[in-house]
């Protein structure tokens, strides 16, 4: 598989005749987003790590409206290496705030396809995630924007941005993946 998106797009363009390449539908993208949510809530991290393109970013920004994430301070700005480290941290038992990892249930709804084509789409939805750990329940609410691309194996994430509605407020320690 090609490392960069352009390569990916070209591959698809070459192997799939344009007449049969279908636009990514809302139903298809929703199903994928729910699948990702389910993997995180049920700690199926290896499978989760495989959902991303090689150059993908997982971003939890702080300042509303920021577009240049790379030059901004975020809560998370993870490439593949950092996502892997995050997963290792959750599984290692070395982190006192992640031993045990908080139990989470996330609910994704209010989906809207912002852009779509045969090869890529941008999906926005609401996410409400409830965590429970050490007798304490907390909720984090936000918008999630997925940039998905069609790969040979199905959809993959090129970018996932979690826009918490209270991102500029003081949060509690979040010892799991939003």
């Amino acid at each position: 598989m090609e490392a960069d998106d352009d390569g990916l797009t070209m591959n698809i363009a070459m192997t799939i005749p344009t007449t049969t390449a279908a636009t990514i539908t809302l139903a298809e993208a929703m199903e994928f987003a729910w699948y990702e949510a389910d993997l995180l809530d049920h700690a199926v991290y290896e499978e989760w790590l495989a959902l991303w393109t090689d150059d993908a970013r997982y971003i939890v920004p702080i300042e509303p409206g920021v577009t240049d994430f790379e030059n901004a301070v975020n809560y998370a700005y993870d490439d593949h290496e950092m996502r892997k480290k995050r997963v290792e941290r959750l599984l290692s038992g070395q982190s006192v705030s992640a031993s045990p990892v908080a139990r989470t249930v996330r609910s994704l709804s209010r989906f809207r396809m912002l852009k779509t084509s045969e090869t890529a789409c941008e999906l926005r939805c609401a996410q409400i995630i409830t965590e429970f750990r050490r007798g304490r329940e907390r909720t984090y609410t936000g918008d999630v924007v997925f940039e998905l691309v069609r790969a040979e194996s199905g959809l993959k994430i090129r970018r996932k941005i979690v826009w918490l509605i209270n991102s500029t407020e003081a949060l509690g320690g979040i010892g799991y993946i939003l």
Binding site: V60, I62, E63, E70, N71, A72, V73, N74, Y75, A76, Y77, M82, K85, R86, E88, R89, S92, Q94, S95, V96, S97, A98, T168, E169, A170, L171, G172, G173, I174, G175, L178
Partner: protein, 423 residues
């Protein structure tokens, strides 16, 4: 007898040189007294100069629990006003930061210039000179002084100048600011989080090297080998020094005290790519070395009593909320006008450890939370701060110094706490 009464009548029952009793974390009356006896009576950090660079720039802050506005007026002078209209007490500002030409109360429209003077009162004919004397109704302004970019405010006009209050800490602040790498230091953004615990638990932590290898094991596992060795701080010859007035410095990586030194040292592997990028952008070899060394931050924490630490590569700001709730801000800093690639590298390092989703802060928050939880039991028991006490070296001016894992910095902070709380 209540703990608070005990504090004045028999302080040794609550606080000694090497230990403090549990009510210091749990007693709401002690917390209330701290907000006046300490936060209302000393210099409190409110801003870095780069947060309000231009005339009209402002930010919200707090001095203890009291809301203030830090603002640069039309002539460039910095003021710190109580965020409270002189009419009926509403806040004038609920925007974290921004730019403005005046401060107008949303309730009845009283308007103030940025220097705090009352300018506009709508429907003024409802008052006469006996009921509205504008000169008496300026915003309540605090005394403001700054040192090397750090802006402090105090409610007290009669305490020592800031420079005297900081004393020996000034040298360390100057060293810390060298991580501008030849550029002025600038704030880049911040992480804020809360933990359910007393503010002094965090105050102690910035001078606690002892917890690092255990609490931050998952972070140490995630970094490269070279960084891991550098952060093996209990074995690197570091030290803690009492700097007077509750301040202290904890040196964890002695070779990173002065970032202008050792520029000829090999560039760490993790910064090799950055160094190459900077060279390609046309920076000279010396500039590259200075910038790259600065990107990694300083090898020490300067703890300034009561609410700021210049902590390796960021500012740690402590905001008490209640006896068992504290807000922490980790402000990222970088090079004002420096290469974007260097600031990006600093930001990524900041995100790695700090904040609610960092690989370090959540573990800190968890153990602090546990201290507060544990302290709900054993009201008569002591919190021990005696690590390194017997072997402590006394400096000629009465200050103390010990090895890096000693609780010398905490003892320095509690000395000041006791001086201020027992008057």
């Amino acid at each position: 007898m209540t703990s608070l009464a005990e504090l004045t009548s028999n302080p040794d029952d609550l606080i000694r040189k090497d230990r403090v009793r549990t009510p210091l974390y749990t007693d709401p009356a002690i917390f209330d007294a701290e907000m006046t006896k300490i936060f209302h009576n000393t210099w409190v950090w409110v801003a870095h100069v780069s947060e309000i660079p231009n005339n009209g720039d402002f930010k919200m802050a707090q001095v203890g629990l009291e809301p203030v506005i830090v603002v640069r007026d039309r002539k460039g002078q910095v003021h710190v006003h109580l965020n409270r209209c002189r009419h009926r007490g509403a806040t004038l500002c609920e925007v974290r930061k921004g730019k403005t030409s005046s401060l107008v109360c949303p309730y009845h429209g009283w308007g103030y210039s940025l220097d705090g003077k009352l300018r506009g009162v709508p429907y003024e004919n409802g008052y006469d000179e006996t009921t509205l004397d504008r000169s008496e109704l300026s915003l309540k302004s605090l005394r403001v002084e700054d040192y090397n970019g750090l802006i402090f405010a105090t409610f007290r006009d009669d305490i020592e100048p800031l420079a005297d209050f900081l004393g020996p800490a000034k040298k360390w602040i100057d060293l810390f600011m060298k991580q501008g790498g030849g550029y002025p230091v600038k704030t880049l953004g911040e992480h804020k989080f809360r933990f359910p615990g007393n503010w002094k638990i965090q105050l102690e932590n910035t001078t606690d090297a002892y917890h690092f290898p255990l609490v931050h094991k998952s972070f140490l596992t995630a970094v490269d080998k070279e960084t891991e060795q550098q952060l093996d701080m209990l074995n690197n010859g570091g030290f803690v020094e009492d700097l007077g007035n509750g301040h202290s410095v904890m040196v964890m990586i002695p070779e990173l005290i002065d970032l202008d030194d050792n520029l000829e040292a090999p560039i760490p592997e993790k910064f090799a790519e950055l160094a190459k990028e900077l060279a390609t952008e046309g920076y000279s070899d010396t500039e590259v070395r200075r910038i790259v060394r600065a990107v990694g931050g300083s090898g020490f924490n300067v703890n300034l009593f009561p609410n700021l630490a210049c902590s390796m590569a960021f500012f740690r700001v402590l905001q008490p909320v209640s006896v068992n709730e504290t807000e922490i801000r980790h402000i990222a800093i970088g090079m004002d006008g420096g290469p974007a690639a260097a600031n990006r590298a600093r930001i990524r390092l900041h995100e790695f450890f700090q904040g609610p989703m960092g690989f370090g802060s959540p573990d800190d928050a968890e153990v602090w939370d546990r201290v507060q939880h544990g302290a709900q039991g054993g009201d008569d028991m002591w919190i021990m701060l005696n690590r390194g006490f017997p072997k402590e070296e006394s400096l000629p001016d009465g200050r103390h110094r010990s090895d890096v894992s000693a609780e010398t910095g905490m003892r320095a902070a509690y000395d000041q706490w006791k001086r201020m709380m027992t008057v």
